[in-house]
């Protein structure tokens, strides 16, 4: 292995908080200037993206971001994608052992990342059946919109170590014009989306629903019509 490769592997070890093998004391000291600058930039960006989580940890935020960058160095050249592993970090034993935590932090971070990811995604063409393609189905243990409302409300004094009751929910996060939106999916609308994802057209979905729900054609036709109108209004279905 060339000395340049070995040197750079040592620099990576320094950035990941591990022991180095080749760098001199002075080189390590000076490379830490760069590590400090990287942390400063990330601190600000991640505080903006995860503002509800930052609000809990204002005093220890810099140390948290340093720990995050050491445990989850980014594999993306796109700076905002530095945020994509933050939920995994918050869910890690390392984080939970070192910082006060609760049962919903990682779920909030996952939602915030998905929202950002969809916002930055290239615009894709809708499927032939009309289903938009810039979306993500998000299965959460919590009612995310309500949880965010609660966290952003000034009415409550929220303690970081207080867990909240779980409430299994499925959400559809999607591009809505120039912004993103989140909406709740019930069992029927989730199944409907899954059928559209499998490239079925509306008539085929209707037939599958008749079998699935063992219901009359007229009833199913009515339900599907209502659902289609609803998804059109939400700009999830573009037909």
């Amino acid at each position: 292995m060339s000395s340049a490769i070995e040197l750079q592997e040592d620099i990576l070890r320094l950035f990941c908080g591990q022991d180095t093998k080749l760098l001199s004391v002075q080189e390590k000291q000076n490379l830490l200037v760069y590590k400090g600058l990287a942390i400063s930039t990330a601190e600000n960006m991640l505080a903006k993206i995860f503002k509800e989580i930052h609000a809990f940890y204002k005093d220890s935020w810099r140390q948290i971001i340093m720990d995050y960058l050491e445990h989850f160095p980014s594999r993306s050249p796109i700076y905002s994608e530095l945020a994509q592993d933050f939920a995994s970090f918050l869910d890690s034993d390392f984080f939970k052992n070192k910082y006060p935590s609760n049962n919903y932090l990682a779920q909030v971070a996952t939602y915030k990342w998905l929202d950002l990811k969809i916002h930055h995604q290239p615009q894709k063409k809708a499927l032939v059946n009309g289903l938009i393609q810039n979306y993500q189905v998000f299965r959460s243990k919590f009612n995310i919109p309500l949880l965010l409302e609660y966290l952003n409300s000034e009415q409550y004094e929220i303690v970081v170590t207080d867990d909240i009751e779980e409430q299994e929910s499925v959400f559809f996060i999607y591009r809505y014009g120039l912004t993103t939106k989140i909406c709740h999916l019930n069992a029927m609308s989730l199944l409907f989306i899954e059928k559209l994802e499998a490239n079925l057209d509306l008539e085929q979905v209707e037939q599958e629903f008749i079998v699935q729900y063992q219901s009359s054609c007229a009833d199913i036709e009515q339900e599907v019509k209502k659902l289609v109108n609803h998804l059109k209004n939400m700009k999830i279905l573009l037909v």
Binding site: I11, V33, Y34, A38, A42, R75, H120, L178
Partner: protein, 295 residues
């Protein structure tokens, strides 16, 4: 015919940053713009969604030339297995087809090691092994993207014990062997000579291969930014967030007395509150460029 004579003269440019976009568009619309081209950080414009693409269309509609200046091409990555990120390269290829730039550039540094991005411009050891690595990487980039590449002299806050060349020898050797151009950051010359006291700027400029200096970056920098800088025997950081100092303008004027430049960029990444201050700086730069017959 010198390397840079194949490029036309673009005059003074300004960095397109999100917080400046509306002001830039207004200046152009009212024909008050002191800049005649825009620089972008291309990593901020690849694989983007509707909003940013829409924003970008407005910029392209102005028909001002847009020139990319990267931060993550990592031309100093040593490992051959890890030194090509095709996700980034293909995104750039698509972007370049749209903006049709005359060249692209990035820093003489390393930002990616074993596939991980360190989010900072890590300096390179100045030695022959690293010259060969950087040359191979630049040749690959120029071939893959079919575009001329300029290397920027970065500010560096450390010197490796394995250095066997001076910064100047390192830069000249890289651009000669890779047949690449130079993006000379005059503020970085000042930052490096202030922090390391290795050379006089006149010596640096006199001995640089000026026939390859195509573009210039000029910016302000922070002094005593962090108290711990002093502990590390450093005095200033290259922050692109302050007014240009007279000493840096002097270096710029000296450079223009020695060679012509195809494009000059006022580089500012934050502290945009008072655009009139930026306009004063642009006018001062244009005056120096006028004396050097660049505008």
């Amino acid at each position: 015919m010198s390397y840079k004579s194949k490029f036309k003269n673009y005059g003074l440019g300004l960095g397109l940053r999100r917080d400046l976009k509306e002001t830039i568009l207004k200046e152009i619309k009212e024909e008050q713009n002191d800049f005649s081209w825009l620089e972008i950080v291309p990593e901020n414009f690849i694989y983007l969604g509707a909003k940013k693409q829409f924003d970008f269309q407005e910029i392209l509609a102005t028909q001002l030339p847009v020139i990319p200046h990267g931060v993550n091409l990592s031309i100093g990555t040593a490992s051959k297995e890890e030194n090509k990120d095709f996700y980034l390269l293909d995104g750039l290829k698509e972007l370049f087809q749209e903006i049709k730039p005359p060249w692209f550039s990035d820093h003489l540094s390393c930002t990616r090691i074993n596939g991980y991005y360190l989010q900072e411009l890590i300096p390179l050891p100045f030695n022959q092994e690293m010259v060969d690595i950087v040359v191979d990487n630049i040749k690959f980039l120029q071939d893959y993207l079919q575009l001329d590449f300029l290397v920027e002299n970065p500010s560096y806050y450390m010197k490796y014990e394995s250095n066997t060349l001076t910064e100047l020898e390192f830069i000249n050797s890289v651009v000669d062997k890779a047949n690449a151009g130079i993006l000379l950051d005059v503020n970085n010359i000042f930052v490096n000579l202030t922090n390391h006291n290795d050379y006089q700027y006149q010596d640096f400029i006199d001995n640089l291969d000026l026939s390859r200096v195509v573009q210039v970056h000029i910016a302000g920098h922070a002094e005593n930014y962090f108290s711990w800088l002093a502990q590390k025997q450093l005095k200033i950081l290259d922050t692109h967030a302050a007014q240009i100092r007279q000493e840096v303008l002097d270096i710029f004027a000296y450079l223009l007395s020695q060679t012509s430049i195809n494009a000059v960029l006022l580089e500012r990444d934050s502290n945009f509150a008072d655009f009139s201050q930026l306009k004063i700086e642009m006018q001062a730069l244009k005056q120096i460029m006028h004396q050097g017959a660049l505008v």
